[in-house]
Symmetry: C2
């Protein structure tokens, strides 16, 4: 949607050697994109100033203009609230005198009055490119940083969501006798900024501060600044359309690697005590294809024949794993290229991640080799692939079972820890795991693209520190997440990289806020640790669609009634009071002795009698007052009674896993196991109870806060999906805009 006028204006500013547009130029450019700016006129003498003032209507504002003029307010070059010819004339003289040689003209505007001021802008995030900002304006912009961001392009729905995001959003409604802000106009501003950011990579930053809201609710941009990028900063070919041939090539390469029939391990050795080495790990996991150890110096063991080099192998292999010292990697890659072995996992560390000069140099060297040789490289500094179905693994003790979850992890340690943890804690297994480290040629987006097309992957989990092509990741995950939930552990969020900034918009951007927008825009589920990623994966895996936030907790013993309310409130779940009708019905069913017929329900009887538990669930589910169920099981109490088949806790678990869960009519049912007594016999029943519940598809957690946090994230994800499905137009529009 580029316009000739804008391009001409930008060219002219460049020709004049300026890096920013004047206020007048900035506003005229913005108005071309539908942004309401205050009327204004340039005047060169007192007479014109008076004529223009009369035309606009008093009171007016007069400002001194000049390319060398800065700090206008401090220098007395801005005169406001001029009410008559005389005042305009005097102001003109003062300004001209104060500006001296730097004076070029005066700008005249009608005075815009309004108590509410906002700010809007556009910045370029180093990872995600053009991003739109909206927030509280005036003196509060700096003092409060009450702003929200969205990565461009944004549609009207997203622009509206930005407005609701700021803490001061109350000010957008009718306020103290002034009308509600014209949201349509505001949305037009934000989508206009988005389009400007997408259309003109030459524009580095736009800062509109303030927007004044007039008493009738309409808005005007009163001051604006547009800064251009240095030629060197202008993003090159953002490749928005996507290179589908290249994407396809990478998908095929990844598919070959993940279903490798042949693997060569360079640097293979006999296992040392406690350190089996990569080759032995792959072998022990039972890789079913042809496995070639390559090492000219290795000693034979276990009857294994070592090969001296890649070229001595009887075939080109589907995957080469480099497990050799970093300084030897360049030559090894050259050999890969020469022998036509293009699919490579570099396990070796000692590159850019060291932060040391030599490591950085080595990485640059192998990057060149990889690009020139057309190699597909996973790594360096990573664990590569774990694919149970292909019997591929580069570490030890992982589950041999396949499952619905896939993992893309920048860290090898986290890949091992997460897969170990979720398999052994929750019995959830994996389809494909890729640990990709320094991302020499293949980055997270390549793996996400592969997994998006992979039918065996139902849930995508990710650990990321950064991403090379942010806009691509945004598009991918927004596309995928309504069908395949994406659970993303993004670390480094609190690090605010120091950045040179030239305006308010710039100073308030920065990693954390942009990533927060990313989650809102894509529906990716944010988690903050490996343990939380496992908790949420468990909930996503077992809970289907959710209907809302209204939650009940049924528990026994412990003084945790108030704590339940606190925990729910902290994560945004509702714990509604039951209606009088429902309370009466429940009282009839549960009885009263030792039971609190409130939400949370504290009832010994519901736990003592399985039919009562079932009826309680049934009544609650059918009341329409409850969307989600949490059963808080105090094992200290529920193990007192012994049954033939084990503890009573196991009896309850079996009931919930089978008959009980039917009574919730598909609404989520989650269990929490509370256990505090030191008796080891009670602790021992925990894994038994967990196993029964998990086998019945009931997520089970060790604390209420874990349970409500995981549940609230699944509910929020479902809300995103619902919006995504019910606003197909806006999504289609986006796709068009991206095409």
């Amino acid at each position: 949607m580029k316009t000739t006028k804008v391009s001409e204006l930008i060219d002219q500013v460049r020709r004049e050697g300026r890096v920013s547009l004047t206020e007048a130029e900035s506003k005229s450019l913005l108005s071309l994109y539908g942004i309401p700016v205050v009327e204004e006129a340039m005047v060169l003498n007192e007479g014109d100033a008076i004529v223009q003032s009369r035309r606009m209507g008093f009171p007016v504002v007069l400002k001194g203009m000049g390319s060398r003029l800065t700090h206008k307010t401090e220098r007395g070059l801005v005169k406001v609230n001029l009410k008559c010819d005389d005042e305009v004339q005097q102001a003109f003289r003062h300004i001209k005198e104060a500006a001296g040689e730097d004076w070029e003209a005066c700008l005249i505007q009608p005075l815009i009055k309004g108590t509410r001021e906002f700010v809007a802008g556009m910045i370029r995030d180093p990872q995600f490119g053009p991003s739109v900002m909206f927030g509280l304006g005036g003196i509060y912009t700096e003092a409060l940083s009450d702003v929200s961001f969205r990565i461009a392009p944004i549609d009207e729905f997203q622009a509206n969501a930005m407005l609701d995001d700021i803490r001061a959003c109350k000010l957008l409604g009718a306020f103290r006798g002034e009308a509600e802000v014209d949201k349509k106009q505001l949305v037009q501003v934000l989508t206009g900024l988005s389009r400007l950011g997408m259309d003109y990579p030459e524009i580095k930053e736009i800062d509109i501060n303030p927007f004044i809201v007039m008493p009738n609710g309409s808005i005007k941009a009163v001051d604006a600044l547009i800064i251009l990028a240095d030629a060197s900063e202008i993003p090159q070919g953002t490749n928005l359309a996507g290179d589908s041939d290249h994407e396809k090539e990478i998908r095929v390469a990844l598919d070959t690697m993940m279903h490798a029939q042949s693997i060569a391990v360079l640097g293979a050795t006999a296992p040392r005590p406690n350190f089996p080495g990569i080759f032995e790990c792959v072998r022990r996991f039972g890789f079913s294809g042809r496995l070639y150890p390559v090492n000219p110096k290795a000693q034979d063991y276990d009857g294994i024949k070592f090969f001296p080099s890649l070229s001595s192998l009887p075939e080109k292999v589907d995957l080469v794993i480099l497990s050799i010292p970093a300084p030897l990697v360049p030559d090894a890659l050259r050999e890969c290229a020469a022998t036509g072995n293009k699919n490579i996992h570099i396990f070796s560390a000692g590159f850019k991640e060291t932060g040391e000069e030599e490591g950085i140099r080595l990485q640059a060297e192998i990057e060149t080799i990889a690009h020139e040789g057309g190699l597909h490289v996973v790594g360096p500094n990573c664990m590569g692939f774990y694919v149970p179905a292909s019997r591929m693994l580069t570490w030890t003790d992982a589950s041999a079972e396949s499952g619905p979850v896939s993992l893309v992890s920048q860290s090898g340690g986290n890949a091992q820890d997460f897969t170990h943890y979720i398999s052994s804690t929750y019995g959830i297994h994996f389809s494909k795991c890729i640990s990709f480290g320094n991302a020499l040629t293949l980055d997270s987006t390549d793996f996400v693209d592969y997994l998006a097309h992979d039918e065996e992957t139902k849930i995508i989990t990710m650990y990321l520190e950064g991403v090379k092509d942010g806009p691509r990741l945004l598009r991918q995950i927004r596309e995928i997440s309504p069908e395949k939930p994406v659970i993303l552990y993004k670390s480094g969020l609190t690090e605010s990289g120091a950045r040179a900034v030239s305006s308010h918009t710039g100073s308030m951007s920065g990693g954390e806020m942009i990533w927060k927008s990313f989650f809102k825009q894509t529906g990716a589920i944010p988690v903050d640790s490996i343990e939380e990623m496992a908790d949420v994966t468990l909930a996503v895996h077992h809970i289907g669609a959710t209907q809302g936030r209204k939650t009940t907790v049924i528990g026994i013993g412990g003084g945790n009634g108030v704590a339940v309310a606190d925990s729910c409130a902290r994560v945004g779940l509702e714990l509604p009071a039951f209606s009088p009708e429902l309370t009466t019905t429940l009282r009839k069913s549960i009885g009263i002795d030792g039971s609190m017929i409130r939400n949370p329900i504290d009832s010994v009887i519901a736990f003592a009698s399985l039919p009562v538990m079932g009826e309680t669930l049934e009544l609650l589910a059918r009341s329409g007052e409850i969307d989600n169920f949490i059963i808080s099981m105090s094992l200290d109490w529920l193990t007192l009674k012994k049954e033939k088949s084990g503890t009573y806790a196991e009896t309850i678990a079996s009931y919930l896993a089978d008959e009980g869960r039917k009574h919730t009519h598909g609404k989520p049912l989650i269990a929490v196991l509370r256990q505090y007594q030191p008796d080891p016999a009670i602790k021992e029943c925990i894994p038994l109870v967990e196993k029964i519940l998990l086998a019945g598809g009931i997520p089970v957690y060790k604390s209420l806060s874990q349970a409500v946090s995981a549940l609230s994230k699944v509910v929020a994800y479902n809300e995103f999906c619902k919006r995504a499905y019910t606003t197909p137009d806006s999504r289609d529009e986006d796709r068009v805009a991206l095409a």
Copy 2:
């Protein structure tokens, strides 16, 4: 510091049947307390208005006044920026006309110009009484709720802290060419409001909105409202001086109960399967005094002789425990009073906590009986006492060991869970635990008073839902906490009780913000769950004084480097980069292969060689760049190597617990155990490693986030203590003010 003038003014308003002071009255009262208010004059005719305007200097503001006038701005009764005689005259006419019959006079003020506006006020919190508020003013008060509270009385130090508390505190500094706000003046306002709140229980609310900051930094209250309390609302005898005889009597009674030589259990029965009953619990724990089961209907067991009634006992007992149905409690209490048995624990539930009419009635009945009989009652609806040294316990399986921690818990369930959990998890034991339920006559403050005087209690832990005498709790904990740390789990913080409010100040008060102030003012350490209370108690128990927030993490394996930085940043700990000198020194000691000489340090070598670990700690401790040490032990790695004496993890733990911790020179050393691999052998070594570390006085946690959170709270507590000790004057002043 009451003044006759203020009392007279209040009396006059009451006589006139008004509930609030006029704007002019409010401001004149405030100015008596040192609060700068805008100059003003009441005028009854145009001539006077012009005379006063000239005297004050143009521009001025004119407002219509009248006891029936509300919504002045909307009705056009406020005219600002009047610049000359004519404008004043016209404004006067307009206002008089618009107000019609309700007009009584006009108020005239000089126009106060300033871009920064604040709000201040005083409210009465139902639990804590007069509380002072400060925040962002103007239209942003409602929209942003950027306010801070302190419970009165406050001194200058606390008033200053309030200013730093608001998010927009930047606006208090020099800002856009305007001077720094005169903080001395602001502090005078806040302490003045505090004194007004303390001096006049008749004043219900004060609302000053806005305070305008003039360009030179000085402030003026431009609008103010003072609301009086209904006669029924005026707090009666707040008992600030403390009734030391009564306090002493209760301390003696509690001491008798906690060191009881004789206990009678009313409602004692033979144990049933799985439910031993209170009597049997006390007996099994080995109570060493004389234990009397009282129950006319009970059957003998185990050769135990039952008594039919209290009066049939051979002596008055130190403690009577009532374990009988709620409806029988009133008669039992009457018998206690009649037999001179004054120390009572009512275990029975079924009172106010049910929320049912009958329960509420029963509680009112027993309250009367208790007060008339001068009974000291713990409960009802609680577990009473757990005192290991006296062999007193009303539940099962508690530790028989004594320790330095005492607990005051409103919930019996939480008392059991917390004591079980911390004893079995961290090997920390108790001196005295009191679960007090519905607080019929004895409340948390009585127990805190006792524990404050108890030499065996070194750390006080508390679980509270509410408190009867908030001001007393505030004074107590502020006094105690610098000597005995108080760790407080306050639940119900997110419940914002609906309250009738009549001004901005009122609408923004409410439980959560007042409790937050409570923590800041007392140094009590806030926690949000039983588990966190245990984590923090562990840290407080083992860590002495801390020096600052600069922390280092030494770890091995796992992709948690970035996560460490995130975790520290979230709780306000610093993870500083090492100086080049320290980096060089460390590199020499640790070497480079496989180690990252950064903070966090990821070093296999430091773990592989104990002398290197020791030297690393020594170098860091002596560098002055680090205040706190966290050792993150990956058991998945550290158990690979087997030693004669067990796993290598145990060897490292033993080293740290003995030699290693000496190298930190008294700076806190905390361990984190990471364990993800499913191998049960690795899991099994966790309790062994924990035991070694705990025995060596090293707190040990299962996750980094637990460790940094607990550490950050101990650091914040030490910062509070340091301030408390270094500002003795301000504390003494408070004491005088309270006396």
